[in-house]
């Protein structure tokens, strides 16, 4: 793995600032990447240190007794039963897909591209994208931030080559036209905070229809 989110993006996830769609992409990258898991674990420890150092805000006198009175009706938490993945699809992606990557019901978008919307909150959306080998997405720039995590296969653009687990962070300063690598389908999990700006006429019209 060569491409990781920066500390600022990891910190937004660790501190709870990230929106849910961005959190989904970051957490799924973490499932691939021990180095970034360590970074997030460090950040949570910083959060613990900051919490412990905060000046206490006293609670009402009744609060303690009220909590104690609820203990007996608060049974130990039981983890939900874990369903094994047959193709290694990690959490949290598996929960959002409702199953494995290999059993996704794709929506076609032309002969070589397929997609599946996963989550939309305001202008931010997360979706799965699948391109057959050699597929070109078409030159585009970005109105907001685009995070792309490779799940299978790979793609190449002006910034380099991306394989499984790699995460690309693209902002307003990047113009690129990613091409799926030869060999196998490229499957990505992508989140955008605003729609993309395509340069090709057809894509300009088709983009908004498919929610890009």
């Amino acid at each position: 793995m060569r491409h990781h989110p920066g500390d600022d993006i990891l910190l937004a996830y660790a501190s709870g600032v990230s929106d849910e769609a961005t959190g989904l992409v970051i957490a799924t990258h973490l499932a691939f990447c021990a180095q970034c898991r360590d970074a997030v674990s460090l950040m949570e420890k910083i959060g613990g240190g900051l919490l412990d150092a905060l000046p206490p805000a006293p609670l009402a006198e009744t609060a303690f007794a009220a909590t104690m009175a609820r203990l007996d009706s608060a049974p130990p938490f039981a983890r939900p039963a874990r369903t094994a993945s047959r193709d290694g699809t990690p959490e949290p992606l598996r929960s959002y897909l409702g199953g494995d990557l290999s059993s996704v019901r794709w929506r076609r978008m032309g002969p070589r591209l397929a997609y599946l919307p996963l989550l939309r909150r305001g202008g931010t959306s997360a979706k799965l994208l699948r391109g057959s080998p050699g597929t070109e997405v078409g030159a585009h720039t970005h109105r907001g931030l685009e995070l792309t995590l490779v799940l299978k296969g790979g793609f190449t653009d002006v910034t380099g080559n991306y394989g499984p687990g790699d995460l690309q962070v693209a902002d307003g300063s990047l113009r690129h036209s990613p091409i799926a690598d030869p060999g196998e389908d490229c499957i990505n999990l992508a989140v955008t905070t605003a729609s993309l700006k395509f340069e090709n006429f057809i894509q300009k019209i088709a983009g908004p229809i498919f929610g890009f």
Binding site: A12, S15, G16, A31, P56, R82, E91
Partner: protein, 182 residues
Amino acid sequence: MTGEAAELNALLARVATLRDRAAFAALFAHFAPRIKSYLMRQGAAPALAEDLAQEAMLNLWRKAHLFDSSKASAGTWLFTIARNLRIDVLRKEKRPELDAADFAPEAEPDPGDGMMLAAGEIRLREALKILPPDQMRIVELSFFADKPHSQIAAELDIPLGTVKSRLRLAMARLRAALGDRP
């Protein structure tokens, strides 16, 4: 501080193994007012922050058996509980979470005697105390302001690049203190 953190871990282990109410009461006295303080900094009104602090402590009671004192301090664990409650209740979103079983063999947490607190985390807290003020400000805002870094930069009237470089410097110091990367 060293002794206090180990003591809190030991109290949490007593809650996990013995359902010890006196230990729970001591944890409540320490953490509930800090969690309330944390949530108020995130913009919660005092009454809501107080309700959620109690909810967080109830979560501690219910989940104590999942706490692994070899991985983190009680304070860090409580931070993640309070953070997730905030996302859940204040923002009405889910927090996408990893499942450790996807990349590590399933291991039952061992509450042990609570004395296993990693020395690294104690060094980390010492390093946090002596962070240069301009770096500390960015770290604190990152955790408490609930705002993206672009907005933090705008409010402090400094370039986004400066925010990011201060953050990078702070992270490098703290990472070195924890002993992840010498």
